[in-house]
Symmetry: C2
Subunit: 432 residues, 2 copies
Amino acid sequence: MDSVQIGLLGCGTVGAGVVDLLAKRSGRILELTGLRPQIKRILVRDLEKPRALSIDRALLTNCVDDILNDPEIAVIIETIGGTSPAHAFVMRALEAGKHVITANKDMIAQHGDEILAAAARTQTDVLFEAAVGGAIPLIRPLKECLTANVITDLQGILNGTTNYILSKMTATGAEFGDVLQEAQDLGYAESDPSSDVDGLDAARKLAILASIAFSTRVRLGDIDVRGIRSITAADVRYASEMGAVIKLLATGSNEAGHVHLRVGPSLVPKDHPLARVDDAFNALFVHGDAAGDLMFFGRGAGSLPTASAIVGDVIEVLRNMRLGVSGRLTPAPNSSKPVNEREPAPAAHFIRLEVGDKPGVFAQMAALFAQKSISMESVVQRRLNPLAAEIAIVTHDVSAGVLARAMKELQSLPDVVAVHNVLPVLKGDSTS
Amino acid sequence: MDSVQIGLLGCGTVGAGVVDLLAKRSGRILELTGLRPQIKRILVRDLEKPRALSIDRALLTNCVDDILNDPEIAVIIETIGGTSPAHAFVMRALEAGKHVITANKDMIAQHGDEILAAAARTQTDVLFEAAVGGAIPLIRPLKECLTANVITDLQGILNGTTNYILSKMTATGAEFGDVLQEAQDLGYAESDPSSDVDGLDAARKLAILASIAFSTRVRLGDIDVRGIRSITAADVRYASEMGAVIKLLATGSNEAGHVHLRVGPSLVPKDHPLARVDDAFNALFVHGDAAGDLMFFGRGAGSLPTASAIVGDVIEVLRNMRLGVSGRLTPAPNSSKPVNEREPAPAAHFIRLEVGDKPGVFAQMAALFAQKSISMESVVQRRLNPLAAEIAIVTHDVSAGVLARAMKELQSLPDVVAVHNVLPVLKGDSTS
């Protein structure tokens, strides 16, 4: 028997894309693996809901046992999303000896350890290329192609919604709230956008990438996460005047076994390749000690791009079945490196603050910076109204501790109205 | 016995990098594969030549039989380069059941079919990630991660020397000959630079990538290859005024089973991600029917980046040995699709020509273009001297046949002194 029975959990945008792409490539997959993938059942919540014509309604079920208890089904593709009930379904599937392919970043970020341990125990494959970066091959290059490297740095644009919002703010000068509203109207942002705009979605993806790249367990709670709600049109404009764009960056570094993980808005110099990653595109910059700088770029979401990654994983699962090596490629349990326990390396920072428009305010600020040995790379001052002015500064490299103390003192100066934003600046383009 | 004996052929820059990186990562490779790689012999031409301290001189031999006839040696790493004698050595190694890892683009481009057939016959692995794009994972993503896609387009900057020269010409306004001389003085270009500047090196890499991406045999001779010797500072300046940079692009397209392959200087719009790939960096843009646009970017050459790819391949060979699946992942023999037999898709073109500076010349040219239905997107005319003017044009999409006939007629107009360069323009950035 040459065909492999597959159970599909979930039939939304991604699930439907998987059905279409698997059908379209089934001859080729047979050629590549000697096996023909066949979707036997599809789990949906609502049997009556209208579906695309390509979905065979006879395959639909609203009872997960029809899939998990079917011994003929050898592979599960999970496209439900979220941790519950997906996590429980996946654990049951693995215990039943089924291979699992998933696009579920929430589940892998939160329960990846447990899931990979179950896969090792039951000699099954668990693959999740689609969980990070959509169509872009990221997991496999990190897991297989770059294994000769110690990876020291990751810098990624991993969330399409925030990248769309920031790209629009940059292109049009509009404020965050207006662009968010427009993105919601167009369906690019959820009605509750918090997991995107508050950085949690990017943090989950960073947790997955960093655990592979740095060979360590990463708990979501260890990541320093900031969103983009505080970014204003003024920040975007000052950043541009200073030769940079604002991006929501997910960054990881691994220095002598100490890992730093952060998600937050950052200034990216316009000559850095990441500065040109706009709209719904994602990208990951990787530095390996032998390979040097690498970048991977492509569509981070969408029905077919996500299906592209999932069906790629199906092909690997089938090939492993054919070769009799299923479950043998799961990485060994990782070490645990301390995360965010040491101060990160000094970095340049962007600071925007509002001050009373009086003589001497700038001098006070400059004296404070001088006293802390923080030197400034560029400064722009602009009058807001007869009583107030706005100052935007980019510093040279400064340690986080020194900067935090300086910001506290700055805030307490009588003529400083508010320090609005303090954002790190990504180091300039090493490629030129 | 946990160690695997390796024979290294060649000990130049790349070979020495492999020795160092293998030593540095040997513990980790043991962890990942259960096997410890050990270099047993190193083939060199000159036993007396001074070597880096990390090279154990006791391993050196100038007799290839010491390696190829040693039954303990299970893996060959070939870093000699060129087709002869590398090709013969590799064939002997495969016939002896040894796995082969090579960075040799000349050999794979020319003899890849024969080598892969021998590997399939002898159940051995042949891996060559380092042959294209240095440290950038390209072969494996195309072969494994994007298998769910029909790949329709490839656009690559695959040769570091020409990219360095063109980047310098763009940055400084200098002429080709001066920058080439400087690159030779700095050791970035060979004393005989023809395989780089005439496009053959890029063509070899394109042949390798296209054969994998389009699942077809590619003969080097089928590729339309032009180099960059004809590019002048004037071309670079006009391109810049028209919003583009000149790059040596290797392009492949696969439309309904008809393949087009070309290497040649092209205009890349400044907002395209490839426009920012400067100096010694390489990049490959890929379009898959499901994944959409993807880009892979990184260091295309150098001792450690190349060693990064080679040692990554060593890890795969060892893992396959451990799992007992060596030689099972070699792709099936490919189909043969016609190459460059149909006219390529219409494209915008840049044309620079010199004309007599008289009234009516421009009108004659415009009339000729109108008669051929070639419309112009932008035109710049500049006086060269009292008798001559230079015109740079970017057309809208035009078919190759129409363009060729128009250029012939243009050249025969009495007041046209010379048509200096006709270069295709890459389609604008689909990412914004």
